[in-house]
Amino acid sequence: MTRRLPWVLTSVIMLVGLAVISAAALRLGAAESTSEIVMSIRAPRVVMALVVGMGLAVAGVLLQGSLRNPLADPALVGISAGAALGAVIAAAVGATFGTFATGGAATVGAGIAMVIVVWAATRDGRPEIVTLLLSGVAVAAFAAAVVSVIVSLSPSAGVRSLSFWTSGSLALATWEGAVTVAVFTVAGLAVAATVVSSLDVLALGDRDAAAAGINVAGVRYRALAAVVLLIGAGVAAVGVIAFVGLVVPHMMRIIIGPRTGPLVAVSGLAGALLLLIADTAARLAFGPFELPVGAVTALVGAPVFFLLLWRTRVSQGGWA
């Protein structure tokens, strides 16, 4: 028998963890914990970590399920870079960070990147994973290059530093930014809720899933639309954070099994928890210096990606 933990119990454990770590994150820091600092600096940052982490992890579940591949991650397939480009363009023409305008522009950028990558990788009506990852590399490289051009040429301080966009940071989180991301995350979750029960069946492969009565293209495109909504605004607010969307669904699948509904719920909570822990570590580990949170997640996530790549290759007997 495959040993698995009930997902409700796992969710409760995650919620307890969230409460404990949130309380700690609000109290700990270089500066004294005055109510002013807690409420206007630490609290929005905690909320931002929770909503961004949740969005990344749920996006990973949906991406992996709809593309039938455990290696898919919003950053690895170029969607996050597309979002960053959208946000930077909006900022360059005068939009303010952490607002609906940049969040919306980033969502459009994520959507365009998604359409390009999925279109390039689709053969006989079915996305092919190696092409998808390679197209993702190309789209991500191009979008990152344009971001760096715009950042370098921009006279506006609002466009901020290049490292913000490439490694991600929660240091500048505001209430307005956190609420904006939360709104997009809720919209993404609402779209996701319409497909979770059908997404499981795609694991049969497109042909057999369709024969079982699933509208395969409809389910897949709705799941991918939810990914775009979950990713865009978060990238606009905190930059590109890789590997959360890859590692969290994978770990949760080992713990509770692969059913999409429970996996979305548990991964959402685990993603929030992981990013909060990573950000608190990034903030406190080498105080008063701060690490970019994206570097912390990549330090953990990249080796896991490598292991996953290895195992997938072994189980498929090679790529070509």
Partner: protein
Amino acid sequence: MSIAAQLVGVSVRTNGVQRLSPTSIEIPAGRITAVVGRNGSGKSTLLSLLAGELAPDTGHVEIDGLPLAGLSTRGLAQRRALLSQERHVSFGFTVENVVSWGRVAWRGTPRSRDDQRVINEALIRHDLAHIRRRAVTSLSGGERTRVHLARVQAQQSALLLLDEADADLDLVTRQALDESLREHANSGGTVIVVSHDVARMRHACDDVILLREGAALLHGPAAEGLNRSALRDAFGIDVPWD
């Protein structure tokens, strides 16, 4: 004898190649029909037409007297099930999860009340009850085949289509497959099998459709139809045949 499915003046042309010449075929209910022919003779085209995956260029296809063109994805799934050679399931879903997907077509209908009972019956019928919580990714090839057979049985469609579903099965699993197909036909269902195992088809099937270059050479009882001269016509070589 009632008609389970029929092609009425159907032809298919893709990329300038005639896949199926205008063909009319009636598939009788309660019987197992084999579709036999060389690669490229139109077997898969015929099956895809009956599955509703492929729309004909001329003519139309009916299941139970209903034109397929008017049926939704779910409507189709309630009337026909498909077993392909695909045994791979992404991610470690349990045996019971996969079998339960056979019930997707009945979601939101009164028949979904029977879901758990139908799933349990299918698990027991295919000797899977004791491994219902195992991950399908950990199963042997024969066990996986039984999982997909149970899934298709749980779909409760009268018409069952098999597209080379026996391709990589050993003798024992092929026999188990044939037994469960016979059971389906005996209980009033209809089975259409595309297979290269011609010798087995003669015993396992009631009727045969012999195809060559997109045309039906013959449609009749398998025991008489699958003879040396018919096979020579279909395959263009002398087949060792007793």
